[in-house]
């Protein structure tokens, strides 16, 4: 230890140094050294937008706190020219408290700044590391301490005791059995060898078990072989928020071990942004294991049931305007943007997009554990103005989201800003829209559940391929013809519109960046011409950044999106799915 380090070091700072050393992967160091303080991230941050006079709200300032520590201890610039590069360490408990306020109280780790950084700096990851360093020495908001301790010792982050959890499931079973008049609708617990093991957010068991009943109703209606576990049922993971990878691993491992024990084939994760990210994406890394079962969000499960005809819904049951709020963890971190919308359109006649949306959507402001840190509530609600304005502009009466954290964050800001709408999840809307007499459970026979598949997935379909690159058109034509489709081709927007009007194809694949009339203008014209407006369109583009332009148009959004280069099977599957959905939409009319 050098003389410099001896001077002001306490054991806490030494612990933080040691842990930071283990975190310095190539990507982390890249983010630590790559920031040029250009300020691009500022416009992306809801804290900056609502606190324009506070430089401490800027993402780069927040990340700089870790940079100082890194440079002071591990980067040569900090050793040679510390005064120039700002190399510095916290010197006292007061310094640590100040860092706590920054890392926990001014950032929800929503990753919007990360996505908008031209240098690829992952500020959210740096902030999470700082949280982890502080948590390791016991410096954290009381709410984080309470929730983490619950998850460590009781097995779920809301401290729901096993007997209370099981009693809640029993209660929901009774309600459901009474509602549908079928004893087999009871929620199975620890049933071995099922197709599905369903996990939840403890908020469902503790505060709003209606979503458990709604999911149970859907599983029952679909005739699914499923179970809920008596332990390892908490898919959420406060380790993601506190920065404690040990907690992250311990929590994920409990779920995985229960899956192994019960021998279920698929883990279905209820609508929860950070729960999905933790269990599906981060968990295997924290635990350090591979697993041989599928893991999916219940959004995918519900969509699949509809596509397979296992359940049927009537979207006319919902008569209020809806909009969709993208959870940061689902959309920005896990790329789930289209499936929730497909599902929502199936149960809502009046759906409008929130702008901006998808990966560019703003945080609900309750993410990153913010709802558990009551000391920061005034600041959180002030930062929620951005989100409140987004919601108000839609005129929606129901804000739909696939995340429990978002449900709480949005409900809080809706109340605070008096927006006069409510928050619901897809599982509730789908359960409410079920047409039970047309669901698998009423058909009794598994055989009629499975829809007969044509020999070729696109047999008899007429598809217009629009792309200015001949090679791409040849590729698309070859793949789609092999799948049974009849193909028309257009090299630009004008030809595409003419051919669409002439041939009325079943579907159009549309490039965005083209010579002459581009894809965005072509799409807007397509959707504005009543004669061809109903033809499903799948965007196939090498410029995903142009998607935003599509959503700024006041026309119904495309039916699908694919980024180039596309893979044969994915292309066919996607188009097959879009065509199936289009028929589903037509059916009730």
């Amino acid at each position: 230890m050098s003389a410099r380090e001896n001077k002001d070091t306490t054991y806490k700072i030494q612990v933080m140094r040691d842990i930071l050393a283990k975190k310095l992967t190539r990507s982390v160091v890249g983010s630590l050294v790559a920031c040029v303080h250009c300020g691009m991230c500022n416009e992306a941050c809801h804290y900056v937008l609502t606190h324009p006079d506070e430089p401490k709200m800027t993402p780069s300032f927040k990340a700089d706190q870790l940079r100082k520590l890194f440079k002071y201890n591990y980067d040569w610039t900090g050793r040679v020219i510390p005064w120039w590069v700002g190399a510095k360490e916290p010197l006292s408990d007061a310094d640590l408290e100040a860092l706590k306020d920054i890392a926990f109280g001014t950032c929800t780790n929503c990753r919007r700044c990360t996505l908008n950084c031209p240098m690829g700096v992952d500020t959210a990851t740096l902030n999470r590391i700082m949280r982890g360093l502080l948590s390791a020495v016991g410096v954290m908001p009381e709410g984080v301490r309470v929730v983490s301790k619950d998850q460590w010792e009781v097995g779920n982050q809301m401290g729901v005791l096993k007997e209370d959890y099981l009693e809640t499931l029993d209660w929901m079973s009774e309600e459901l059995v009474n509602e549908v008049g079928d004893e087999s609708a009871r929620i199975p617990i620890d049933k071995p060898g099922t197709e599905v093991m369903y996990t939840i957010n403890p908020r469902e068991a503790k505060y709003d078990p209606r979503t458990i009943a709604a999911a149970a109703k859907i599983f029952w209606a679909a005739g699914e072989s499923w179970t809920m576990p008596s332990e390892g049922w908490d898919q959420t993971n406060f380790g993601l928020f506190s920065g404690d990878d040990q907690l992250g691993g311990a929590s994920a491992r409990r779920v995985y071990e229960k899956m192994k024990e019960l021998g279920a084939k698929r883990l279905v994760i209820s609508e929860c942004g950070h729960g999905y990210r933790s269990t599906r994406c981060e968990g295997p890394n924290w635990v350090g294991i591979d697993q041989d079962w599928e893991m999916e969000s219940s959004v995918f499960t519900m969509l699949r049931y509809l596509q397979e005809g296992r359940i049927r819904v009537d979207r006319n049951k919902l008569d209020r305007r809806t909009t969709y709020h993208d959870s940061c963890n689902l959309a920005r971190s896990c790329g789930i943007t289209e499936e929730p919308r497909e599902l929502l359109r199936m149960v809502s006649n009046d759906f409008v997009e929130m702008v901006p949306n998808r990966a560019e959507n703003f945080c609900c402001t309750g993410g990153g554990g913010a709802m558990s840190m009551s000391e920061y509530t005034p600041r959180r609600l002030k930062s929620a103005k951005v989100k409140a304005d987004q919601i108000a502009a839609t005129g929606a009466k129901i804000v739909v989201t696939s995340c429990h954290n978002c449900v709480d964050g949005l409900s809080d800001l809706i109340k605070h800003y008096k927006l006069g709408c409510e928050v619901k999840q897809l599982v509730e809307l789908v359960a409410d829209a079920l047409v039970i007499e047309d669901c698998a459970v009423m058909r009794k026979s598994k055989a009629v559940v499975e829809m007969p598949k044509p020999a070729l997935p696109l047999h008899g379909r007429r598809i217009l391929v629009v792309d200015d690159e001949p090679d791409v058109r040849v590729f698309l034509r070859t793949v789609l013809e092999d799948a049974g489709a009849e193909i028309y081709e257009a090299p630009d927007g004008d030809h595409a519109l003419a051919m669409a009007r002439k041939h009325k194809p079943d579907l159009i694949t549309l490039d965005l960046s083209m010579e002459g009339k581009d894809g965005v203008s072509t799409f807007a014209e397509l959707r504005s011409d009543a004669e061809i407006a109903g033809i499903p369109v799948c965007i196939v583009t090498g410029h995903p950044e142009f998607r935003e332009l599509i959503y700024q148009r006041a026309v119904p959004v495309p039916d699908g999106y694919m980024d180039k280069p596309v893979k044969d099977a994915e292309l066919v599957d996607n188009l097959h799915r879009i065509l199936g959905l289009a028929e589903h939409h037509k059916a009730p009319d």
Binding site: Y11, G138, E153
Partner: protein, 175 residues
């Protein structure tokens, strides 16, 4: 089930929720302010009732390494031995942890306990490495059982498989 015999006494590793065990006493790792807080503390408060926190309030504070006893309220356990173990990487964690376990065992003896249950003290939120916690507890308990004591059985209670393994390794002489 992993176990170790020390004379006519026995140490066993089991899986379960320590606050829901039908034992004479179990150990709870509390903070210096003697507040039950969340986690096992929340479970104790919820299952055991308000009386336990009321009893704790009469003690004031508890220094690191020390232990005190309350009733089990409505819990299945008769007594709870509250210890204040080392937390968050504080210096001399190993020594302090051993002293904490000794304090708990002394309280068990003073209250005539024959069966006492231990969690992996300090592991989890408080960041004491699980391997270290398991080894120190097994070594300290084993040493204590060699002497005159009212204790006949010590249960090492793992909440999940992750906690079970280090106890098993330690009790089999590894680690």
């Amino acid at each position: 089930m992993a176990e170790r015999k020390v004379g006519d006494k026995i140490i066993k590793v089991i899986r379960g929720d320590i606050t829901d065990l039908p034992v004479e006493a179990f150990v709870y790792d509390i903070t210096a302010d003697c507040k039950l807080s969340s986690g096992y503390g929340g479970a104790i408060a919820s299952r055991g009732g308000k009386a336990i926190q009321d009893e704790l309030a009469t003690f004031g504070t508890l220094a690191t390494g020390e232990a005190t006893v309350t009733s089990g309220g409505n819990l299945k356990a008769k007594l709870i031995i509250h210890v204040n173990g080392p937390k968050f990487h504080e210096p001399d964690t190993k020594v302090k942890l051993a002293r904490t376990v000794q304090s708990a065992l002394r309280q068990a003896d003073e209250n005539g306990i024959t069966v006492v249950a231990f969690p992996p003290i300090g592991a989890g939120l408080y960041q004491v490495p699980l391997d270290l916690s398991a080894k120190v507890i097994v070594d300290t308990v084993s040493e204590h059982l060699k002497n005159s004591t009212t204790i006949k059985e010590v249960l090492l209670v793992a909440f999940d498989a992750r906690e079970y393994k280090p106890f098993e390794v330690a009790i089999n002489g590894g680690n």
